[in-house]
């Protein structure tokens, strides 16, 4: 007996009971259902929800693997004993730190999805597959696992299930989880210690009197926000050899993921492009403010404002957020014109928040969450505008 028939038998056994949705989900996750609909007209297409979700996950896998290597690389570099980037030592640190994040994220999130499906008696929906992969990529590497579990539970229940589950949520669940972590446990989500594995523990050891050097885990944006000079080269920033959340550092791999998403028509190129344009426009405005001499070098915004406008695209989580989270089809604008506005404002606001909020030098999370809330409003006005235009055309014709 193969796995398929085993799963099928399990499904038949629990048919009609409360647990049925859970076993249905296990079965259809791997195989096509045995029974097909016989009457009525149907469109046959390969890209169902599960396929869509898997495509996004595939686009993120390079970032995940790179993140594992980078975790170890940053750890050893900070300790002052650098290892090769593509070495087993580096990967091992990443593996033992990142894998638990992935397991906790999926375990808690899918557990809640199964519970809700059983209580509400509907099929388990695949919405969490992508969220579960996004979450480990956008948190600092040293985040305690129980905090992640609490945040995932909060994000899935309050961010998604209360609105009616997958497809009904207003806010992106992965960002809801990150925002919860940020406001609930700021000491683990921001500052100059959390972004490199071991930096927090080292600080504790020093506080306890150990005679070792402190190691810094500051992100580039964090340094800039405090007016410090940064000594990473542009290629480091682009390829991702910098501290940051697990999977967001490599702009190159994110670009690859973006091309993959655009090519498979899963992600909206309109949103990505307009967000980049929005960010560049805001960056140019800030550069203009600096070069026209409106603010002095003593201003606390000076360093971030004078950062060249296109550098903003390759530092921080901007690229990751725009490619993988702004394009979430549920929470983004649905109309094409709306997508341009939605994307542009995300880019524009990201850079604005980044510069004006020194306590939290990353704006893309808050910008996307804010625009998630406004996406239905944008769509409403686009549609009403279209209705009005057509009404006018109708009048001209009938008059």
């Amino acid at each position: 007996m193969g796995l398929k028939s085993n799963l099928h038998n399990l499904k038949e056994k629990y048919k009609g009971t409360k647990m049925a949705p859970a076993f249905n989900a296990l079965h259809t996750f791997l195989y096509l259902p045995n029974e097909t609909t016989h009457n009525g007209t149907h469109i046959k297409a390969a890209d169902d929800l599960k396929r869509t979700m898997n495509t996004v996950i595939m686009a993120m896998v390079p970032c995940l693997i790179f993140g594992m290597f980078n975790a170890g690389y940053q750890h050893f570099s900070a300790l002052g004993a650098p290892v090769d980037f593509l070495s087993w030592d580096a990967f091992y640190i990443g593996l033992i730190k990142v894998l638990p994040l992935v397991i906790v994220s999926y375990g808690v999130g899918l557990g809640i999805e199964f519970i809700f499906a059983t209580i509400n008696n509907h099929e388990v929906e695949e919405g969490y597959l992508v969220t579960g992969m996004l979450v480990p990529l956008i948190v600092p590497i040293d985040i305690p696992l129980w905090m992640l579990a609490v945040a995932v539970a909060f994000g899935v229940v309050i961010g998604k299930e209360v609105f009616g589950g997958t497809g009904m949520n207003i806010l992106n669940p992965a960002l809801t989880i990150r925002a919860f972590l940020f406001f609930a446990y700021p000491t683990w989500m921001s500052g100059d210690k959390v972004w490199v594995h071991g930096a927090v523990e080292r600080t504790k050891e020093i506080a306890a009197g150990a005679n070792v050097d402190a190691i810094s885990g500051e992100t580039i944006l964090g340094s800039l926000a405090q007016g410090h000079h940064i000594d990473y080269s542009l290629s480091d920033m682009f390829f991702g050899f910098i501290p940051g959340s697990v999977g967001e550092t490599s702009t190159l791999l994110i670009l690859l993921g973006a091309l993959f998403l655009i090519f498979t028509k899963i992600g909206s190129w309109r949103i990505m492009l307009s967000a980049v344009v929005g960010a560049l426009v805001m960056g140019l405005i800030f550069n203009g403010v600096v070069s026209s001499g409106w603010i002095t070098e003593t201003s606390k915004f000076y360093t971030l404002m004078s950062t060249e406008f296109w550098h903003h695209l390759i530092i921080g989580g901007f690229a990751f957020g725009v490619v993988f989270m702004a394009t979430d089809p549920v929470t983004a604008s649905q109309t094409n014109k709306g997508k341009w506005i939605y994307g542009f404002l995300i880019g524009f606001l990201s850079i604005m928040i980044r510069v004006f909020n020194p306590a939290y030098p990353e704006g893309v999370m808050l910008a996307i969450l804010l625009m998630n809330v406004f996406a239905p409003t944008i769509d409403h006005y686009i549609i009403q505008g279209n209705v009005k235009k057509r009404m006018k055309r109708l009048k001209v014709k009938t008059a």
Binding site: F180, F183, A184
Partner: protein, 215 residues
């Protein structure tokens, strides 16, 4: 012999559960969000509102036949304003620190929709004894939610209850904190109060489906 008749008991118990001013009528949310970061503040607020509402209800009920209906709102406002000022002064005299924490929100009891709502809906049409019970009941329903929200917010947000460190000391790392537990800073922010109230509403309505409104 029962102390209260069945009808009178209902006046008190109804607002506690099935006709709760906060979770069912969705009134008085503003103060529920603003002052519930600490349990002590919640309790004091609940008691203040109970004093104002019970006495105010009785006063309005006694005057109900002589208030011209055209100016009843301003009369009600005068009554409630007078009571709130008394409560505010008492708090300032006996518990100055706490009145600092509650700041303007004691003054804002005047605008608490529950109070005007009960004056309009109940005290203007019922006798003083019934109005008194109604005031106690509604204020208790309001206070119940306030205390629940305050309990969870203080416990999870600061790790204390009424100022006692029930979960251990976060700086000395005793109790739960020795295991790596940390306070949830989000609980101290107002949005979380709204979410806690929302969860209470959710639990209440899924236990009693009759409370779910039609759309």
């Amino acid at each position: 012999m029962a102390l209260l008749s069945k009808k009178d008991t209902k006046l008190i118990t109804d607002p506690l559960m099935d006709n709760n001013p906060i979770t069912i009528q969705v009134l008085g949310i503003c103060s529920a969000l603003a002052i519930t970061a600490q349990l002590k503040a919640s309790i004091v607020m609940a008691i203040s509102v109970m004093a104002v509402l019970a006495i105010g209800n009785v006063v309005i009920s006694l005057m109900r036949n002589i208030i011209p209906s055209k100016i009843r709102i301003i009369v009600q406002l005068v009554v409630v304003a007078a009571l709130v000022i008394i409560v505010d002064q008492v708090l300032k005299a006996f518990s100055y620190e706490l009145s600092k924490t509650l700041s303007v929100f004691v003054g804002l009891i005047i605008t608490n929709c529950i109070i005007m709502g009960r004056f309009e809906a109940f005290a203007l049409a019922n006798g003083p004894w019934k109005s008194f019970l109604d005031g106690i009941g509604n204020a208790a329903g309001y206070g119940l939610i306030l205390v629940m929200v305050g309990f969870f917010r203080e416990l999870l947000g600061s790790g204390t209850l009424l100022g006692f460190k029930v979960l251990g000391d976060p700086i000395e790392k005793t109790g739960l904190y020795a295991l790596g537990y940390e306070n949830n800073g989000f609980m101290l922010l107002s949005p979380m109060a709204l979410i806690v109230v929302g969860i209470i509403i959710w639990v209440q309505r899924s236990r009693n489906k009759a409370l779910i409104e039609d759309h």
